[in-house]
């Protein structure tokens, strides 16, 4: 498709042909049930499978303001070619970026403006420089019309800040700069709020000067600890698998996972539900199943209550299983990174037992030694078991382990949207229950007290109390106020029949690792 390039870069046009759609275009796409048009960005184009017309293509689209898990391949019929189509900006080279910066600086003294407006100014200058640069070597660029005039310039700037996501993987390093500039306005606001709270963990996601974590910084950080990538560009944008079959279930995948590239875009990847080995075909799965003897995760069972069990698995000892587990979970976790090996993690696998064996429901991984007091690295309930209260069980279990360790814990950041909601629900439920009890006995307690009883980090406690709108100022001091609706909600939640982790059923002592065992080689 690269032969068809946009005649109108960085511009919005109304109407177009299917042939003019390139990677990076933004247009209205039919989505959902009932179907309606939603703005989406084309991330990839591939020839349609099983189509007579060789030129017919499928389009991988990302709906704006939707999570990436809803990205999908769509047929050309679902694209609204009559509406507005926003074409991607042209790529720029690093040298051009340098020029842009200089011109930006030069222009600043002349414009009396706030810092944020200064940024905008710089940006527009930058984009002007880019287009000018492109125009200069117009022989390579496809007929670039110079975009003079402030109107056009403004449009370009807006587009840039709106989303620089239209870059292919190859252009990521160049587009990084744009993204930083575009986000700066928002970040300024955010940091002015955040600065009031000195407890903001510095440098986790943004650092003041550089904006987004550099790749080197991130990899260095991952080498010593952590399992999440902070850099949105580290995440492959087009998922490589559509459907997996695991045990009884057929599950649509959500994100990219680095299963061998030979398996990319298979209609179904078959996964043995006990050893998590993956196969491209049913015959291989059937053959494997005649030989595989596993009927539960290959580790020590540390908890059993009714049909739920937890197995503890050391990443160093069970490399193949843990790698398979990570590959599987990466299908459903966007920010999980498999950059480094599984050695520094322990995996706590939750299973449900029946006559066929102990079936994997979900798991969480945990660093053997967390430098930032995380008690969970990655946590996942497999999609076929979601919305059944298992996520809550996993979270509860992770805090039970922390209680045994006599430590406070918090999940590694960034959280996913689903992760945030699950954690918030659990924190709310636990804290409200505790507060109701304390209200009855009339005892006062501090945020640290709540933290030590629940093993939540104080910041998470504070976060929850804020969400409950429970911190009030009354008669010259802070108090916790439980509104009637909060209590009603808590009673409603408590009434639901659900599984609970029974701390008595946990047979576990924290494993102590020596310094050499933690050197990972």
């Amino acid at each position: 498709m690269s032969a068809v390039s946009s005649p109108f870069p960085s511009t919005i046009v109304t109407g177009g042909t299917i042939g003019s759609i390139v990677v990076g275009c933004k247009l209205q796409v039919l989505h959902g049930n009932p179907p309606e048009y939603r703005k989406a960005e084309v991330l990839s184009i591939r020839p349609s499978p099983n189509a007579e017309d060789a030129a017919r293509c499928d389009y991988y689209v990302h709906y704006s303001d939707y999570n990436k898990r809803l990205d999908e391949w769509v047929t050309p019929e679902r694209l609204n070619l009559h509406g507005e189509i926003e074409y991607p900006k042209l790529k720029k080279t690093k040298t051009v970026l340098g020029i842009g910066k200089e011109t930006g600086k030069a222009s600043e003294p002349g414009t009396p403006s706030s810092s944020s407006r200064g940024n905008k100014n710089r940006k527009s200058n930058l984009s002007k420089a880019v287009t000018a640069g492109k125009g200069a070597d117009g022989s390579t660029g496809p007929g670039t019309p110079g975009t003079p005039g402030s109107n056009k310039r403004k449009a370009a700037a807006m587009e840039e800040s709106g989303g620089s996501q239209g870059k292919g993987a190859g252009q990521e390093s160049a587009s990084l700069g744009t993204l930083m500039d575009g986000d700066e306005d928002e970040d300024d606001n955010a940091s002015s709020v955040a600065n009031g709270d000195s407890a903001t963990p510095a440098g986790t996601i943004l650092d003041e000067s550089g904006g987004v974590f550099s790749k080197e910084q991130e990899i260095e950080k991952l080498r010593t600890s952590g399992s999440m990538t902070q850099n949105p560009h580290e995440i492959a944008r087009v998922k490589n698998l559509d459907l997996i079959q695991i045990g009884k279930h057929e599950v649509e995948t959500w994100y990219f996972s680095p299963y061998p590239s030979e398996y990319a875009h298979l209609p179904i990847l078959y996964i043995c539900e006990f050893c998590l080995t993956y196969f491209p075909g049913l015959k291989q799965l059937a053959r494997h199943r005649t030989k595989c003897t596993l009927q539960h995760p290959p580790g020590n069972e540390i908890y059993r209550k009714d049909d739920i069990s937890f197995f503890e698995i050391d990443g160093r000892k069970q490399k193949v299983y843990c790698r398979n587990l990570c590959l599987l979970s990466k299908l459903f976790l966007d920010h999980k990174t498999l950059y480094y090996d599984v050695d520094p993690f322990l995996f706590y696998v939750m299973t449900i037992r029946d006559d066929d064996g102990a079936h994997l429901i979900g798991y969480f991984s945990k660093e053997k030694e967390s430098s930032e007091q995380y008690n969970v690295a990655c946590i996942l309930t497999l999609p076929q078991y979601q919305r059944m209260g298992f996520g809550r069980l996993l979270i509860q279990f992770s805090y039970e382990l922390s209680k045994v360790e006599k430590r406070l814990g918090s999940p590694e950041k960034p959280l996913s949207d689903l992760g945030l909601l699950s954690y918030r629900a659990f924190w709310t439920e636990s804290i409200v229950a505790l507060l109701v009890e304390k209200h009855k006995s009339g005892t006062e307690l501090s945020i640290d007290d709540i933290a030590s009883i629940t093993a939540f980090q104080p910041s998470d406690v504070l976060h929850t109390l804020q969400n409950l709108n429970a911190l009030k100022y009354y008669h010259g001091q802070y108090v916790i106020v439980l509104s009637d609706t909060v209590i009603k909600n808590a009673e409603r939640v408590a009434k639901k029949k659900k599984r609970e982790v029974d701390p008595k059923a946990l047979v576990w002592r924290p494993i102590q690792f020596t310094a050499t065992q933690l050197r990972f080689l």
Binding site: K248, Q284, R287, P298, R323, Y474, V481, T485, R519
Partner: protein, 478 residues
Amino acid sequence: MKNVGARFRNRKINNKQLLRVYRASEIPDLDESLSLQRSIPQTETGVDKEEESEHHLQAAISASNLSTTTGEVTALYIPTPDASRKIENYRQFYTKTFTEPSTLIRFSSTVEDCIGCPYNMDHDDEKWLVDFNAKRSSTEKLDEDHFELIMWQFEKITNERVPYLQLDSGQIPALEDLRATFIGAQLSGVKAFAGDVYPWWQDRRIKRGGKIITPQLKFEEVVRNESDPYVCFRRRESKPVRKTRRTDQQSIEKLRKLRMEMESARSLLEMVSRREKVRKESLVLEHMIFDQRCKVREYRRNLGIKDDDEDMQSSLKKKNRKLGEPSATIRIPLNFKDRDTPASQDESRRDRSALSSIETELARRREDDVGWEDLTDNPYQQFLAPYSQQCFRVLPHQRNGKYVSFRKRIGRGGRIHIDRQYARPRYPFKDPYQKDLYGQTDGQYTYDKFRFDDDSFDQEDIIDDLRDGYVFYSAIYS
């Protein structure tokens, strides 16, 4: 509103501050606006900045906010792709039944141990095998397990011998080389088929460009720093071992020393406490002995036995002697008694003879001293004065409340000097008639010598008490 200044002071909430828990109905006079002024900065959600604004997440968050403020319950879920379909033919693949052990499972076998032959034949293999078997009689058919075994043996040996086959597929091992590795009970059974399977395997392997037939994960990047999303599970470069700095070493040394000292102090204290315990025990025993002796005495008195009173004493002495303790005046801690070994017994016997001679000597002296009062029985013995001082002799009479002492010495040219000095006697009291080294009593000797030596005319005394030398002497030797 009394204190306007305090109203606007935004005190941060302290994690250690005790907070009272109220229900909203209990404090109707709560001033919401005051709380708003003191609003605590929002903590971060922990969700990636770019994703925080996503439509469904925001909808879910505002729905939950709504339920805390108004109580309106809206079950709002973030939509996720479908996961509800189930397959029909599960039983076809999963046939084993699971019986759970009654105790918690402990399991350390790895996946590799549990999956048998790692090669799993695919559809193409199956087709080839069916074709192959069709041409053969039922006795010489190759079954799937054996087929996989052969394929895996080819793969395994090839990977060991030519790990970089994909770079040069011409190096593919020949059949004979591979067949030679079919050793062992299982493999030699299928060796006959190796030649039949080899062309098929070779074909597949070459089609894969020399790579192993079953696709593998990519662990290492071919080109450094090129971000290939398919590369995963990289090895971590080992962290350089942190060099211990000198200061660290020094403090470790100090800590070690401190620990050693603490330990030795502790062991000393332990020993002391042990000693004290033993001492206490011995006291108790002694007390018991005393009690019983008292009893014995009482019995004796009651029974009218009187003559054996001496035995009582001597038995005590005997006992002491048996223990080897000379009846010396030095008091030895009681627990030392126990340490005496039999070897020291004859030593104590020798001591005893010496002791008896001392005793006879003492008896003789006592005889001599009859009619005299013995005032020398003072256990305190002063150290000897320097030799030059020892030569002074004290005159037995006082002058101006002081004793005068003198000495004779020979100076240059044979001149004889007599030094005098006022001095208190070096001993609290010196018996003038105690016999000295020359067998004479000091008293007689000096008395005789100075009987007529009267200094009464010598009123203008040449000795000045306050002369430095005398002060010095008196300070040191008195």
